[in-house]
């Protein structure tokens, strides 16, 4: 049963992934990619890690929808009405992707997979949390802060308007001069 489900999801994921490069609109490409990623999340669930699988689905939906906004904004595909292609440098990209696929597939077949020693835990989520947060607590905390700092830093660097633009030269102007006032009224 789960093998059939695995196979179906795998085929769907591949078909959706191919659609990303063959459909004619940015919006459709985005949602084809999303469909592919949702199938990949489903695979993780089938493999017995429901938490990781569902979080993948959750995050990918949010991410791809927000990404659709940016792709549409930057890819000069006004209203998605013109035919567009996601493929640039067709031959090169084909060679690279085929090479990566072959290497990964070979890895699956050639690597000696470890045998299961214990019994499978009833709640894999708990085990997952243990292994991530138990031994690697410090790593995870550090990673979390680094990621957050990167996001904040990137946003600050990308913002053209600084605090002097908002609060005046002496930083004493309240409320701030913003094109659109926020909800807290700073």
């Amino acid at each position: 049963m789960s093998a059939v489900l695995f196979g179906v999801l795998a085929v769907l994921a591949l078909v959706a992934a191919l659609l990303v490069f063959s459909v004619g609109s940015m919006a459709r490409a985005t949602f084809a990619l999303l469909a592919s990623l949702v199938c990949a999340g489903g695979e993780v669930v089938v493999l017995g890690l429901p938490y990781l699988g569902l979080v993948t689905v959750l995050m990918m939906v949010m991410e791809m929808v927000v990404m659709a906004v940016f792709m549409v904004a930057y890819m000069m595909d006004p209203a998605g009405l013109t035919q567009m292609s996601m493929v640039h440098n067709k031959r090169g990209s084909l060679v690279i992707s085929a090479g990566v696929f072959v290497a990964l597939a070979a890895g699956i077949l050639l690597v000696r997979w470890p045998e299961r020693t214990g019994t499978r835990p009833a709640d894999t989520t708990f085990q997952l949390g243990e292994s991530l947060m138990g031994g690697q607590m410090l790593t995870m905390i550090t990673l979390g802060f680094v990621l957050l700092a990167t996001m904040v830093g990137a946003t600050v660097l990308a913002t053209r308007r600084g605090r002097y633009d908002r609060f005046g030269d002496d930083l004493d102007q309240r409320p701030a001069r913003d094109p659109v006032g926020g909800g807290v009224g700073r």
């Binding site: 919006a27 429901p50 689905v57 939906v61 929808v65 927000v66 709640d123 989520t125 926020g182 909800g183």
Partner: protein
């Protein structure tokens, strides 16, 4: 405490949710009738449901160069996601699918609405629909983080992502009592993801209905149904998460589940009409600067309680 229901419950849940949604719509119709000075009775509430045959007979409508595939996918996604979301919600002692990560399942289904609404807004190829679709994303970015922390608070308090586990952990004391902020944030978010009342920003009157504006017929029916189904789904989920599920004196847990769900629904419908529409450009800053820190603090409370237990 919560057991898996027999296989036929898979068909009962999708029937019960629309019934709850119809109840909410009827309550809303009564409130509107009272505001407008019309007699508020059974007939008034029933008249609102004439919208269903009205939309069934309406001619489907398509705008030029619309993206039919994405529009259809989006329109179907919204109500279907709502029905899928309640599969993990226990009704009394039974639940259709007591997933070990039920809370995450609910959240993932709710996020599918983002994609659904954006696709239907985009697919119609009309300016106001498109703005409506974008508005839902802006609103989503505002309400989603506080909502996640509210869910995490409940899950932390129960030390389980299984909805049945959350119910069991409230034996004696409801989470709504000692996590009132998380409960309030959850209810606000229910309103927000069903884009009703003060959160009807994506379907605002100022953009002539936004995502709904250019739909007619079955498309419109599905989107409108999706809104109320989500409201019902959110109310149903609030009960196991914060109100102790089917627990209560007497022998019928399912009756308690139903009663609590109806109470939450009525409260939501009443509160919704008391506020003007909240625009995301104001709400997002409030959500991130005020709600998120408070929600983190709220999540800290059950974490500390559980550590000291």
């Amino acid at each position: 405490m919560v057991d898996a229901a027999p296989w036929w419950s898979l068909f009962v849940a999708p029937a019960l949710l629309p019934a709850l949604a119809v109840f909410a719509v009827a309550a809303d119709a009564l409130l509107i009738a009272r505001e407008a000075g019309r007699p508020a009775g059974v007939v008034t509430a029933g008249r609102r449901l004439l919208e269903v045959p009205r939309l069934l007979v309406a001619q489907p409508r398509r705008t030029p160069s619309s993206d039919t595939l994405l529009r259809r996918a989006g329109v179907v996604t919204v109500p279907v996601a709502a029905v899928l979301a309640v599969l993990v919600v226990p009704f009394g002692r039974r639940t259709v699918g007591d997933l070990s990560v039920g809370v995450v399942w609910f959240n993932a289904m709710e996020v599918l609405t983002w994609a659904g609404l954006w696709m239907s807004g985009w697919g119609q190829n009309a300016a106001f629909s498109l703005i409506g679709g974008y508005r839902y994303l802006a609103q989503g970015l505002a309400y989603e983080l506080p909502l996640m922390f509210a869910l995490i608070s409940a899950a932390t308090g129960a030390q389980s992502l299984r909805v049945g586990g959350v119910v069991a952990a409230q034996h004696g004391l409801w989470f709504a009592v000692w996590m009132p902020f998380a409960f309030a944030v959850f209810l606000t978010s229910v309103s927000a993801f069903s884009f009703l009342g003060p959160f009807s920003y994506p379907a605002g009157r100022d953009i002539a209905g936004g995502v709904l504006g250019d739909t007619s017929g079955a498309d419109r029916l599905l989107l409108q149904a999706g809104r109320w189904l989500w409201l019902a789904a959110g109310a149903a989920m609030a009960v196991p998460l914060f109100l102790g599920g089917g627990a209560g004196p007497g022998p019928a847990p399912w009756a308690w589940s139903l009663l609590k769900t109806l109470a939450v629904l009525v409260a939501l419908v009443c509160i919704q009409r008391r506020f003007p529409m909240v625009r995301a450009d104001r709400y997002v800053e409030f959500a991130w600067v005020v709600l998120v820190p408070l929600a983190v603090l709220q999540a800290l409370v059950p974490a500390l309680v559980v550590l000291n237990r």
